[in-house]
């Protein structure tokens, strides 16, 4: 309606400063949310990262040598081809380990599409050289410089590993098909076996990744279904890689939603206080003929306009500037912009933010519709209560009156004060949850043994007899003890999938499993299980399970639950000796030396390699550190958003407090309080509010973070017990900062308000 719009914009013009600050705040929050989303995608999806940076192919086809690849090039929807590469299926051997692999013939430079990313060594393969895919290299315990033998049908070739690379294809696992490696065409040719046919591998990059299933059908038809050996899609590869990262991903998503909710609540508070500040004008307008609905409409128009302006500004700034900013932010933004989800995620976030703010505005502005239409009518204030006996007594004891009056001001309307405390505590609680997540990350990163991650070093026996290896290891000064270990794929009864059976430690020296419930295995046939295993087999701590490894049964008594970060928690851990007892053919597949406290893993590794003259293979255990830095970035970003929201809520509370107590200031003057004391009463009031909110928020947040992380850990199979609440120091810092910010933020406005009051009093006297 014209009249409503006229009022809305005239009012905005009058309060230009306020409008601008609201727009900027919204822009800031939007930008922070978007950046956090980008970092989240970046952090929680390493596969996606890899796929984008390697220009991955969406479909990989393995065909016979005679297949007509040219037909694929002409297909509608295929934007580029990778290959075709002549491919042979071989068996790679490295010492005792062997694995089936496809070798692809490649040129001196890596291909454009599906370009493998080098993790070690170099790409240029000459004759007798090979580059392995990373999971293959791990399975074979191979590094650049090692020599492998290719056996295919009898003739053996020796090749040297010159590089290890990563691709965005399905990783190698012993029972799931051949792994990937690249070599020069001459190597590939000479490894062709008589029985296994030569083939081709070609990768297709699609213009519309969502259409993959259809495109696969068309590709297979184009080449001829009898010519196709196997097909692999990017969705399979992603599912394969993605199992492990739900933990923090879901937590951070929950976080984003919570931040939006807190922002909405802050907006509600802000709009309510503006409504109250309006008071009389609304009455006049109602008397003139505005309906209550139109009044609410006006606030809605105003705040929707401001929110839209802010969101658009924030989104535009983020999109254009973030890619130019240093460090991980730009990498994350570039990645995110390249994703197909980006096209709807960005406007989706913007629209959701605007809608959330609009909904909050309507809720708050509904009160405006209830203001009486008579301008002089005072909005009924509940009766003031007499000062309690306690307060009077305290005054008699010469406690500074500012303190007492400040307390009273806070406690005077208990429900309103409680509501304010709750509103302020909400973002603070979420900050505490973020601190808890940070503390848990710290634990995972710096104390991996506490969370079930293997020790820092793993040693692989390479043909040396067991006792010699043990002797070599125990002679090292940095090593405190040696644990033999083995990991086997076992079949549980009734399961079509496999679980992992791990034997670690001896009866004399049991391995310190990270036990969350029950106890560590001590006697024979005792084991601990991960949450994933307990869920998969529907057993609890205290039951007996029977698993088979290649026909040999192992019967174990589960005496405890351990925290398992690997294999989705479906791990049964027992001592190596138990396994040996139940199956005499078991040999240790690796040794996990326990380092003395203070010994550095790379120093010990170098010493070991030197002492064994290269016979021992020593490796750093998987260090998930690199995936944690972006997560920390996300947490920091969200904390920034929440801090902004807290500040907004604080300033609303301060403004409301000043307005409600304006009349009191005059009374204070007349009873003899100096202006400084009046300021002190208001500051005390706000200080109490901030402290109450901070303490509540910190306490609730510390508990909630533990509960949330454990909940998520339990569901992902890792098992509860992972979470660590934020440290006391962090919580104290939070409370202190909040209090300091509150006091700092309110001193100036309060002083200005008191000065205004005294000016007004002087004017009326004149």
């Amino acid at each position: 309606m014209r009249a409503t719009a006229r009022w809305a914009f005239a009012d905005l013009r009058t309060h230009r400063g306020q409008a601008l600050s609201i727009v900027l705040a919204t822009a800031g929050i939007t930008a922070a949310l978007l950046l956090s989303a980008a970092l989240l995608v970046y952090a929680a999806n390493p596969w996606q990262r890899l796929f984008t940076t390697t220009q991955g192919a969406h479909v990989w086809l393995r065909t016979t040598a005679a297949a007509d690849i040219g037909a694929l090039r002409k297909l509608d929807g295929v934007s580029a081809l990778s290959g075709p590469y002549r491919t042979e299926k071989v068996t790679l051997r490295h010492g005792a380990d062997k694995a089936a692999a496809d070798i692809r013939a490649t040129g001196p430079t890596p291909p454009q599409i599906g370009r493998p990313r080098l993790a070690a060594g170099h790409w240029r393969v000459g004759p007798g050289e090979i580059v392995l895919e990373k999971s293959m290299a791990t399975a074979l315990w191979a590094q650049p410089g090692d020599t492998l033998s290719i056996g295919a049908g009898g003739a053996e070739q020796r090749v040297r590993v010159v590089g290890v690379a990563q691709t965005a294809e399905t990783r190698y696992a012993p029972d799931s098909g051949p792994g990937i490696s690249w070599a020069s065409p001459s190597v590939v040719r000479s490894s062709a076996g008589a029985s296994l046919p030569t083939g081709q591998t070609v990768g297709l990059r699609l213009s519309d990744p969502a259409d993959t299933a259809f495109m696969v059908q068309r590709a297979v038809t184009a080449v001829g279904s009898d010519q196709v050996v196997s097909v692999a899609t990017w969705q399979e590869a992603r599912a394969d890689a993605e199992g492990d990262n739900h933990l923090l991903g879901l937590l951070l998503l929950l976080f984003g939603v919570g931040a939006l909710l807190a922002a909405a609540i802050a907006v509600t508070g802000g709009v309510s206080s503006r409504v109250l500040a309006y008071g009389r004008d609304i009455s006049v307008l109602k008397a003139v003929g505005f309906t209550p609905g139109q009044i609410v409409q006006m606030f809605l128009i105003q705040h929707a306009a401001l929110a839209t302006a802010g969101v658009v500004l924030g989104a535009a700034a983020t999109e254009t500037l973030a890619t130019r900013s240093p460090g991980q932010l730009s990498a994350a933004m570039t990645l995110w912009q390249g994703l197909p989800e980006h096209t709807w995620a960005l406007p989706g976030t913007a629209v959701t933010t605007v809608l959330a703010i609009a909904a909050a505005t309507v809720l708050a502005a509904w009160r405006a519709g209830r203001v009486p239409a008579i301008p002089a009518a005072r909005i009924a204030a509940p009766g003031r209560r007499r000062m309690s006996g306690a307060a009077r007594a305290v005054l008699r004891w010469r406690v500074p009156p500012a303190l007492v009056l400040g307390c009273r001001g806070f406690l005077h309307r208990p429900w309103r004060s409680a509501a304010a405390v709750v509103r302020l505590a909400l973002p603070l609680m979420m900050i505490a949850v973020a601190l808890g997540a940070w503390a848990t990350l710290d634990r995972i990163q710096h104390h991996p043994a506490q969370v079930g991650l293997a020790g820092q070093l793993t040693v692989r026996p390479s043909g040396l007899p067991d006792d010699q290896i043990r002797e070599l290891l125990s002679r090292q000064p940095g090593i405190a003890a040696v644990e033999p270990g083995i990991e086997l794929a076992a079949l549980a009864p009734g399961q079509t999938e496999t679980v992992t059976l791990r034997g670690l430690g001896t009866a004399a020296r049991p391995y310190p499993f990270a036990v969350a419930e029950g106890r560590a295995p001590s006697g024979p046939a005792e084991a601990v299980a991960g949450q994933g295993l307990l869920d998969a087999l529907h057993v609890t701590v205290g039951s007996w399970v029977r698993v088979t490894v290649g026909g040999t049964p192992h019967v174990l008594h589960i005496v405890g639950r351990s925290i398992e970060m690997e294999h989705g928690g479906r791990v049964l851990s027992t001592s190596y000796d138990t396994l040996r007892v139940q199956d005499a053919s078991v040999r240790p597949s690796y040794y996990a030396p326990v380092l003395r406290p203070g010994a550095r893993s790379d120093a010990v590794r170098q010493a070991l390699t030197h002492a064994s003259h290269g016979a021992l293979e020593v490796r750093d255990s998987a260090a998930p550190a690199e995936q944690f830095t972006p997560m920390r970035g996300v947490i920091a970003g969200l904390v920034a958003v929440l801090a902004l929201i807290t500040l907004a809520e604080l300033s609303t509370e301060i403004a409301a407090g000043i307005r409600n107590h304006a009349a009191d200031f005059r009374a204070y003057r007349s009873i003899g309080l100096s202006p400084r004391q009046s300021v002190a009463t208001m500051v005390t009031s706000i200080g109490i509010l901030a402290s109450a909110a901070a303490v509540t928020g910190a306490a609730l947040g510390a508990w909630a973070s533990r509960w949330l992380i454990d909940l998520q850990a339990r569901h992902s199979g890792v098992g509860s017990g992972l979470a660590v609440p934020p440290s006391w120091a962090a919580l104290t810092l939070l409370v202190g900062t909040c209090l300091a910010a509150a006091v700092a933020a309110c001193v100036l406005p309060v002083r200005r308000a008191i000065q205004e009051q005294s000016m007004r009093a002087l004017r009326t006297v004149q």
Partner: protein, 255 residues
């Protein structure tokens, strides 16, 4: 001295009120502000409500304007029954057929004078150009031409009340309600406002005015005394019956 006309001719009555009552309840005490008031106002009449403070005059005016809900009673505006309407419907009636002027706080402090006056016009759905023309005409008549872009804070009390009157009249309402419009003004401003009101009245505007000022009341067609929530007396003052015919008589009177 005739009593107010009690036998209504329906068509010529702008306002008809029967048995209006309102009681305020606050913290276990009750105040009956208006008890059982009957009132009829004809087209073009200028009615003044007087009485001691707390007698219920303002409440009566608020009830008639739909700013408050009556506990009992019926109200007809231009023949249409309006007492049971919702707040939104009342707002729509007010914007088209009523102009209201209060003693204080008549104007929206964040809007300019021009916007303030034009607002009811825009609300009623008239074309902006038409409304602007009406506004300029009113401002000229009120001798406030230069003030169109000022905010209410820049104006004196009298000027604000004149602007408020302009705002109330911009839609040429059926009924003009005024609650102590001169209550907070000095004598000069009071005279200005009264001159305006009489001018409007002569043009046919129906006015219902609450006032303390006897001079203001005496310029009305009818003076209704409200006492303790009820109508105590309904007078049509006629200055021709009595009174001095020259200043000399006054001197003698005072002596």
């Amino acid at each position: 001295m005739t009593q107010g006309d009690r036998t209504p001719d329906r068509e010529s009555h702008v306002l008809r009120v029967e048995g209006l009552a309102k009681t305020y309840r606050a913290d276990a005490s009750e105040v009956a502000a208006v008890r059982g008031v009957d009132l009829n106002v004809r087209h073009g009449e200028f009615v003044a409500l007087t009485g001691p403070s707390g007698a219920g005059k303002s409440t009566l005016l608020h009830l008639i304007g739909g700013l408050e809900r009556p506990d009992r009673g019926r109200i007809w505006l231009d023949g249409r029954r309006v007492d049971g309407l919702s707040e939104a419907r009342w707002a729509m009636i007010r914007r088209r057929s009523m102009g209201i002027v209060f003693q204080y706080f008549n104007l929206v402090s964040t809007l300019t004078v021009a916007d303030n006056i034009e607002l009811p016009g825009l609300l009623a759905g008239r074309a902006p150009r038409e409304v602007r023309a009406a506004r300029e005409e009113l401002l000229a008549e009120l001798r406030l031409e230069g003030k169109a872009d000022n905010t209410p804070g820049d104006l004196s009390g009298g000027e604000q009340q004149r602007v408020a009157l302009a705002r109330a009249l911009v839609n040429q309402p059926t009924l003009l309600l005024a609650d102590e419009p001169t209550g907070s003004l000095d004598s000069k401003a009071t005279r200005e406002v009264m001159r305006l009101l009489t001018r409007c009245h002569r043009r046919g505007q129906t006015i219902l005015l609450v006032t303390h000022d006897a001079r203001v009341a005496s310029s009305a067609d009818r003076v209704i005394s409200v006492f303790d929530g009820e109508i105590a007396d309904d007078v049509t003052p006629d200055g021709s019956e009595c009174g001095p015919s020259s200043a000399a008589d006054i001197v003698r009177l005072r002596g």
